[in-house]
């Protein structure tokens, strides 16, 4: 001590209590009675998509610029992104949760962007098919359903031979869809990809009815995907007069570069997409085109956007007129139209129409096109009665006769709606069902397919069927109210660049123009990724207890239950409902 003479003795060091350990020995996890955990759920778009595309994940990948991975994610569920990215009626966008916030994400345009990018860089798919099963399957028809069936069967490990009566594959995609909606340059690579994956396509090889019986010698099963090409009759006098043609045949001749150019007036009878396509092709060939439809515009089965574009191109629409008679008049044709009016609501939810007394209108045109829906061309294109086993699935039919191989019917004749994406869904369902039948028997089909369903809608996922990661998600469909909109900023939907209105009818050039990668990324960023973790890190950021840890895993983070007090902030602050708060289980 220096202060020897001082009466006060100072200690050698200050006696201040000083903490020297961390609070980490205090395991606050014991306080918890509610337990958060990561739990991915189902986005409404993927339920509405008949092909069950994993749209939320696709947009997440797009946001990060992983376009190839996004493309592969689509291809597992749908071999036609370049096609559906252009012509699909996008039921996904109608249920998009973002639509409740500002405007739905432009999902279809993004699908097309991904497909176009893959084509531009000549990417090859990274999807590995399952090991070869040793079985060979015949597919009748190389339209969207047949080609999709071959794609899915190939993924499941089958060798496929596709037989097509016409000289080129593609079916309705090649012969029925006008080029301004689907250019050949977009379609060709999709078909080539399926062919290059190892599927054999034999064109100019029509298959007869007896093939169904003889196929067993060479093939383990037959897929019937013949489409629906025959037009039902109008059942009115004069419908077989010269100058009256079928819409699909006309579209086919236009697709082959022909198409009679004429200046006159044409009437198109019908309200479906074919009727609209015929009318729009006629405008491009120089004709005046009138669509005659017995119900109202809003009742037309044609996609609303297509009708809108048709009217912009100068197509005229006569609603609530039913043709009752066609007669020859000079060089033209005189149509007698019965004015219709709205009746009662039908059992199918559509308004019935009934004749409006004797109000009749006459119309003289140069040519008439019929486009009133399609049915299978041959009776054996649809499932036959009398098969020993007959399994009706949602979008396909599986039959097996006494001494024959299983036959799967898919595509237009058996789907609820005649569209390309329904054909894909039908082919997928058929391929899955057949695979289960061949490996586990008929009894296992329903249960196995139910396990691959996305949400309650019945759309089936091939990724889930192949036991991929989608299987780990809850089937709970994320509602708008479950999104934490505080974490999103208003941003308008992208505007699809298009040809100028005047340019559209001048040629068959594609109307919708390409979008840039920057535009696609911005649009993909608008996606809520409902129910999916996109690693936004909110759970870790806001945790008061530092109980969400970063780690080197796919998710990149985990909850440390030694310290988690179960406050639930991470679950509420998750913008996209990819977590859940549950009661703690007694251990």
């Amino acid at each position: 001590m220096k202060a020897k003479n001082n009466s006060i003795r100072l200690p050698e060091r200050l006696l201040i209590s000083r903490s020297y350990t961390t609070s980490e020995s205090n395991k606050t996890g014991s306080w918890r009675y509610l337990m958060p955990r990561y739990y991915e759920k189902t986005a409404p778009c993927s339920v509405a998509c008949p092909a069950a595309e994993d749209i939320g994940r696709i947009q997440m990948l797009n946001t990060q610029g992983f376009f190839k991975e996004a493309w592969d994610t689509i291809l597992v569920e749908n071999p036609f992104p370049a096609v559906c990215g252009r012509i699909c009626f996008h039921p996904c966008e109608k249920v998009c949760n973002r639509g409740r916030f500002d405007e739905a994400v432009s999902i279809r345009a993004l699908e097309r962007f991904v497909a176009d990018t893959a084509q531009r860089y000549k990417l090859t798919s990274g999807i590995e098919p399952m090991a070869f099963t040793g079985k060979r399957i015949a597919v009748v028809g190389a339209g969207p359903a047949g080609l999709a069936a071959a794609h899915f069967l190939h993924l499941l490990g089958y060798d496929c031979h596709v037989f097509e009566a016409l000289p080129e594959p593609g079916g309705i995609l090649r012969w029925g869809l006008p080029r301004y909606r689907l250019p050949l340059a977009a379609l060709q690579p999709e078909i080539e990809r399926i062919r290059n994956s190892g599927v054999s396509i034999y064109c100019g090889q029509a298959v007869g009815r007896d093939f169904l019986h003889s196929a067993g010698e060479t093939y383990g099963a037959v897929f019937m995907a013949c489409g629906a090409q025959r037009m039902p009759l109008l059942r009115i006098p004069g419908e077989d007069l010269p100058g009256i043609s079928e819409g699909l045949a006309f579209l086919c001749s236009v697709a082959q570069g022909g198409g009679p150019g004429f200046q006159g007036t044409a009437a198109v009878i019908g309200g479906g997409n074919t009727a609209v396509d015929v009318a729009r092709c006629l405008r491009r060939l120089g004709a005046r085109a009138m669509i005659i439809y017995r119900r109202r515009r809003e009742d037309m089965p044609a996609f609303a956007e297509e009708i809108e574009l048709a009217l912009l191109e100068g197509v005229e629409l006569l609603e609530l007129y039913a043709p009752i008679r066609i007669e020859k008049e000079g060089n033209g044709l005189r149509l007698t139209l019965q004015q219709m009016k709205i009746g009662a609501m039908g059992a199918d939810g559509r308004m019935r129409v009934v004749p409006d007394e004797n109000r009749i209108r006459e119309l003289t045109v140069d040519q008439v096109f019929k486009a009133i829906g399609f049915e299978a061309a041959e009776p054996w294109h649809v499932p036959e009665a009398g098969a020993v086993s007959h399994l009706k699935l949602r979008q396909a039919v599986l039959t097996q006769g006494a001494n024959s191989v299983p036959v799967v019917y898919c595509g237009d004749p058996v789907t609820e709606i005649q569209s390309v994406v329904h054909a894909v869904a039908s082919a997928k369902e058929g391929a899955m069902a057949l695979h289960v039948l061949l490996t586990g028997g008929t009894a296992a089909v329903a249960e196995t397919l139910a396990a691959a369903a996305v949400g309650p809608g019945g759309s089936l996922s091939m990724e889930a069927f192949l036991k991929g990661e989608r299987l780990n998600r809850s089937s709970h469909v994320v509602a708008y109210e479950e999104i934490n909109i505080d974490h999103f900023q208003y941003a308008p939907r992208m505007i699809q660049p298009r040809l100028l209105q005047a340019e559209r009818v001048a040629s068959f050039a594609e109307i919708d123009l390409k979008i840039s990668a920057g535009m696609a990324i911005r649009e993909a960023e608008r996606c809520f990724n409902c129910g999916l973790c996109n690693q936004c890190d909110n759970c870790r950021l806001f945790c008061p207890d530092l109980a969400v840890r970063q780690e080197d895993s796919k998710r990149g983070r985990r909850i440390d239950y030694d310290y988690c007090k179960g406050c639930g902030i991470c679950v509420v602050e998750c913008p996209r409902n990819a977590m859940v708060l549950e009661e703690e289980q007694d251990s």
Binding site: S23, E24, R32, N484, P544, K565
Partner: protein, 289 residues
Amino acid sequence: MVSGHVGCAGCGAAIAMRFFLQALGNQAIMVMPACCWSIIAGSYPMSSLRIPLIHTAFETGGAVASGVRAALDMKGDTQTTVVTWAGDGGTFDIGFQALSGAVERNEDFIYVCYDNEAYMNTGVQRSSSTPYGAWTTTTPGREWKRMRKKNIVEALVAHRIPYAATASIAYPQDLMAKVAKAKAIKGSRFLHIFASCPTGWRIPSELSVKIARMAVQTNIFPLYEVENGVKYTINLSPKGYLVREYFKLQGRFKHLSDQDLSEIQNMVNEDWNLLLRKAGLPQVQGEHM
């Protein structure tokens, strides 16, 4: 900051500390007058903070920090930041004179008030930060608080300190940017951080951050900063929720009638227009502001 602290589940003050230290870094000494965090940091011999922390008496936040700063200056240490971390009781009420004295001398330190709007760790007694209309154990039942919340930022701005700002645990980027900005300034800096309290506010713990966000979105707790006592900047334009949407989620306001809520809405509108005027922005009218 590490796990194992003893803040209640969903503690907003714990979140505030996380963001604050993340932006400030570890070269700091923290002075802590009595407040929730005196408990949260852990009992002797544990600490949940990785920086030196001096627990001190309720009324001394400003004074002790001044002393620590002076000691560091004598050692020639200009790199270490001195921070006072106090609750609303230690800032608005009990520690107010020491704080006022320190900032009047323009002591070189950051004073952070994390505001949970009452004396929470002693059992929810009202403070001068408790908002109009709130239930506390000292303003119970029909005797709910009928005085308006003290505007502490304006009191500090009146001292013309270099930097005074509000921040919220619901806006981490804004909060951390303000901490970084404050760190770079010399002299007295004041941060008023809104930190929700599930226990005292009678809210579900999972809504802690959401409620703090709503306080900002309703204009009840606007995010703004004032430089040198004169330059006002409003950092966020709210979407404009109604006050009642914020109030109806909290048990401490459940006794309020529609009439009370309209009056509170008017007070909030009045305060917001006052702030807009100070920031040199046009006034707004109507209930939805």
